[in-house]
Each structure stands twice: as structure tokens, then as C-alpha cells.
């Protein structure tokens, strides 16, 4: 049985080095730990909202907890930690291109926002100055 088990494992991961065996050899404990960590990080990120932390502290904490959770899920639950580097690179590097898209769309969003603000204020200023001031206040509260 133990032989069948280890043979199975090597076909599944097919890594020739012997060191990766722990992933399946003592796995239950690892999974339970990661499970617990995911619960803890989720609770933390929920508490960020519950205690209404705001500003840079909020965004930093949310992103840190998010990346930790994502990292543990991919590395341990999805077994990426035990795959060969070739597969890791093929799957994990392409999504980095998305960061460029995030940057572009953030710049574009800011530009659209400012253009809208400018044209809305320009339009409303003619009939009444009060309405124009109101339109400009709303987004300021959001940012």
C-alpha cells in the first residue's frame, strides 16, 4: 500500500527530486494549518471593515491579507509549490501582464473622471453656480 501510494505520487507530480514527497506524505497537517491560516486572514480582513479602518492602513491591510490568502491557496492547496519551475513560470508569469492593464485603466479612469468633472462644472456654471459646486463636491467625498 505504501509502495502504491508513493508511486502514485511521483506520477502525479513527476518531479524526479525526492524532496517534494512531504506534500503528500505528511499532508493532512499542512492542509489543516493552511486552512486555519485562511480562516484567520479572512477574519482579519473582515475586521478591517468591521472596525471601519480607513485610508492607506485599510488598503494596505486588505491587499496584504488578500495576497497571503491567494499565495497559500495556489502554493499549497493547488500544489504549485511542488511543481517544476517550468510549469510555475508558464502559469504564474503571464498574469503579471495584467498589472500593465491595471495601470493603464487607472490612468484612463482618472482622465475620464477629470474630463467629466470639467465638462459637468462647465455646463452647470452657466445656469446656477450652486449646482456646479454640488456636482464637484460629491466625487471629492469619494476619493
Amino acid at each position: 500500500m505504501a509502495h502504491a501510494h508513493s508511486a502514485d505520487h511521483s506520477t502525479a507530480h513527476a518531479a524526479p527530486a525526492g524532496g517534494h514527497g512531504e506534500g503528500v506524505q505528511h499532508p493532512i497537517r499542512i492542509y489543516l494549518w493552511i486552512w486555519l491560516l485562511l480562516f484567520v486572514f479572512s477574519t482579519f480582513s473582515y475586521l478591517v471593515d468591521f472596525f471601519q479602518l480607513q485610508g492607506y492602513l485599510r488598503w494596505t491591510l486588505i491587499i496584504i491579507f488578500m495576497l497571503l490568502k491567494a499565495g497559500f491557496i495556489v502554493a499549497i492547496f493547488m500544489h504549485m509549490a511542488w511543481e517544476r519551475l517550468a510549469l510555475k513560470l508558464a502559469i504564474l508569469v503571464p498574469p503579471l501582464a495584467l498589472l500593465v492593464l491595471v495601470g493603464l485603466m487607472a490612468i484612463e479612469g482618472d482622465y475620464t473622471f477629470l474630463t467629466r468633472l470639467q465638462s459637468f462644472v462647465h455646463e452647470v456654471q452657466k445656469p446656477s453656480a450652486h449646482a456646479g459646486g454640488h456636482a464637484a463636491e460629491q466625487p471629492a467625498a469619494e476619493h
Binding site: 506520477t11 502525479a12 519551475l85
Partner: protein, 228 residues
């Protein structure tokens, strides 16, 4: 294939040299079962789809001049007379994490050829997924019927809130629903010994990859849509 190459080559190099040797030769690039490689590539493409949704959500949220509805208030639920922010969402998050844990254990028992435990844990995973979809249906109907949120507008503020919400959570919910069906089919096959006859339980691991990915996407939706 690996048997032949291990007979001619003494060792497969590690590190960056391993990457070039794996990628450059006229041979199978990834030494994993094909189902696993294909699932990873599918998940990579799915990553781009979900990213497009989340990035366009970011874009409309930056560019709108109207106030974005506060998710903390929109998704609060009154429990015993006091409104708790994001109560249902927190439960849904915990359920999905729990289901990821049971799935990881199922994969593990699959490789130990423990049919009953594997199938049981997979059914538990599917059941948790089903309850997640149920809660999402509850959340949607509350938002549509009670709060008056539509894809083209809502009483709380920026009109884009509805379209972003329905698109992102709807697509994720579709993935969970498909996953429930997928896991149930594989679990039934585990139970009737299909993978014992096939000689490998790698299908369970491949199904697990899909399920963990659904959980992974929720991590990002939770952070960017509900907490931001």
C-alpha cells in the same frame, strides 16, 4: 516517456537550467498528467477573464462622478436587531474556504486510494458550494427586490454599481455552480471505482484545481468589491 528519458539521461536539471531543458526539447514540456496541464492553462485563461471584469470595475469606479454605494452598508444584514456589516458575505467567504479545505483533503485521500473518504469529502465540498450559491441567490434577490439595484441604476448612487456587481458575482456564481456539478460527477465516479479501474486518481486533483481556483477568485472579489 519519463521512463525512457530517465534511462538515457542521468538527471533532469533543476532551476533555470531545468526551465530551458524542459521548454527547449522536442518533447512533452510539462511532466504532469495532460489533464492537469490543460486545467492549469484553462485556469490561466479564466484568470484573464475575471481580471477583465475586475479591472473594468476599477475603471468605472474611478471615473464615475457619482458617489459609489458603500458596500459595507449595502451588504449589511440585520442580525438580532442590530445591522452587521457584510454579515452574509463573511459567512459565504468562510463557507468557500471550508470547502477548499475539504477538497484538499479529498485529493489527499484520493491518492491514498480511500474511495469512501474521497467521495464523502467531495460531496461535502459540493454541498458547501451549493449552500454558497443559495446564499448568493438570497443576496441577489435582496438587492434586486428590497434595495432596487438594477444593472442600469440604483437608489444609492453610481449607476455602474449594479452592472459591476451582477457581472462579477454572477460569473463567479456560475463557476461555483459548474463546479458543484463537476465535483458531483467525479465523486460518483470515485464511489463506483472508475478511477481504480483507470489506475489513477489524478482526475480528483484536477477537479480540485478548479475548485481552489473558484475560491481564489472569491478572495479577490471579497477584497476589491466588498471591502474596498
Amino acid at each position: 516517456m519519463s521512463h525512457e528519458s530517465s534511462a538515457t539521461l542521468p538527471a533532469v536539471p533543476e532551476g533555470l537550467k531545468g526551465v530551458t531543458s524542459d521548454w527547449s526539447a522536442d518533447k512533452q514540456a510539462f511532466p504532469v498528467p495532460w489533464g492537469k496541464a490543460m486545467m492549469w492553462i484553462f485556469l490561466l485563461s479564466d484568470t484573464f477573464i475575471f481580471s477583465c471584469f475586475l479591472i473594468s470595475y476599477m475603471n468605472v469606479r474611478i471615473s464615475t462622478t457619482a458617489q459609489w454605494p458603500n458596500p459595507s452598508e449595502v451588504f449589511s444584514l440585520t442580525v438580532f436587531g442590530t445591522p452587521v456589516p457584510l454579515f452574509l458575505i463573511a459567512i459565504m467567504t468562510m463557507i468557500l474556504i471550508t470547502s477548499s479545505g475539504t477538497m484538499a483533503m479529498a485529493v489527499n485521500f484520493g491518492y491514498r486510494r480511500d474511495r469512501k473518504k474521497t467521495a464523502l469529502l467531495m460531496f461535502a465540498t459540493a454541498l458547501l458550494g451549493l449552500s454558497f450559491v443559495g446564499m448568493q441567490a438570497f443576496e441577489w434577490s435582496k438587492l434586486i427586490l428590497d434595495e432596487g439595484v438594477r444593472p442600469w441604476g440604483n437608489p444609492m448612487g453610481a449607476a455602474q454599481f449594479g452592472s459591476a456587481f451582477f457581472m462579477i458575482t454572477g460569473f463567479h456564481g456560475l463557476h461555483v455552480s459548474c463546479g458543484v456539478i463537476y465535483l458531483s460527477v467525479v465523486a460518483i465516479r470515485v464511489l463506483n471505482g472508475f478511477y481504480d479501474r483507470k489506475g489513477t486518481y489524478e482526475t480528483v486533483e484536477v477537479a480540485g484545481l478548479y475548485w481552489h481556483f473558484v475560491d481564489l477568485v472569491w478572495v479577490f472579489i471579497f477584497a476589491f468589491f466588498y471591502l474596498w
